[in-house]
Symmetry: C2
Subunit: 218 residues, 2 copies
């Protein structure tokens, strides 16, 4: 029985610390104070140590030799890398959906942008922001690919920590979204993939250009 | 000084246990015997515990509630998922290489298959196997995308655990490799990406078909 409790406690503490990173209670760059965490969570040192090491393995915490453990700071370079990967992963996920899923599954992807047309007023803009997030989330979900799904969970948190609104304006992205949906409806899997890849790589380019500008100004 | 030694020892033990998984000294499905590992590596319990938890975070070990820690077994389903992701990640990596890297960097990709023509004899087959691995490795490396590079480290290990030779015969893959290289030489980034995605999705299909056959026969 002792062993059951220990495993369960370990997972609980891991879950709590992860949540503190995801919801911003522990901030990027912050040094982890193990003693404080131990007191805050009212547990012993061991499960806290184990959770920190597990989160280091997942890439949310990093160990700096001789200095201790820190909440990972994601840079522009990281964000660029994420958008490249997002393009590739989501592109393939969408393609395989279109090739392998039945109509009633694909239908879950095709309604997100039906009621939007440009220009969007403030209220519609908010709705569009939500539809955009849900559309991309749905592609990930329909992929049923557990690695893509897990990757997206971490990625999503990084996106949120950087982004208040949209990276590109609806004037650019709404027509792109509609074109992607059209290719899905037509069961043109390669076209759908290609358009989705372009869509994310255009956002990557915006981030890359911002990065270059930032580096030049500083 | 005590702290430095502790960090260094922790990393050393982690590295050693990871290597034991990668080189098969610890086999998929095997239960981890912490006491045995501790004795084998002549260290105390703490760095062994920490290494196991870190490798759980990385996905190479899994914890089974109440039972302990086991080396992760990768299934056909996992392998299918990996090939989808590989197609997406490597496709984008290659495309961005072709768009953003100078000629002397791209030249590192274009020589791998120059000296092969079909049919291959046994000796050439072995060389081809090596060239194949090195070609894909080089694409990952040239991406300079740390997430893709890290992912590939784990993925490569999975490939090794499934594969004694090639998933598809050189009769299929050599022309595909040559076509990819040609697109790279022509700086046709979208073509190169598209061909590389097809290349991996064809291997995914072989795995998918084997999986279906296996499930039908059993």
């Amino acid at each position: 029985m002792q062993k059951i409790k220990k495993d369960a406690l370990g997972n609980l503490v891991y879950g709590k610390i992860k949540l503190m990173i995801l919801n911003g209670a522990l901030k990027p760059g912050q040094k982890i104070n193990k003693k404080e965490l131990t007191e805050q969570l009212s547990v012993s040192q061991t499960p806290v140590n184990e959770a920190i090491i597990r989160l280091t393995g997942e890439g949310l915490i990093e160990q700096q030799e001789r200095k201790g453990f820190f909440i990972k700071i994601f840079t522009y370079q990281d964000l660029k890398e994420f958008f490249a990967i997002r393009a590739g992963m989501e592109g393939v996920a969408l393609r395989l959906c279109v090739e392998e899923q039945p109509d009633n599954t694909l239908d879950k992807l095709t309604h997100f942008f039906d009621n939007f047309s440009l220009p969007l007023d403030e209220n519609e803009y908010k709705k569009y922001l939500k539809a955009d997030q849900e559309f991309h989330q749905k592609i990930i979900e329909l992929s049923r690919n557990s690695i893509i799904i897990n990757f997206n969970k971490n990625f999503d948190f990084i996106m949120k920590s950087y982004q208040k609104g949209l990276i590109r304006p609806p004037e650019e992205t709404l027509p792109e979204h509609k074109a992607i949906v059209k290719a899905v409806r037509n069961r043109d899997s390669e076209k759908a993939q290609q358009l989705l890849i372009e869509h994310h790589l255009k956002s990557r380019k915006v981030i890359k250009d911002q990065h270059l500008k930032y580096n030049t100004n500083n």
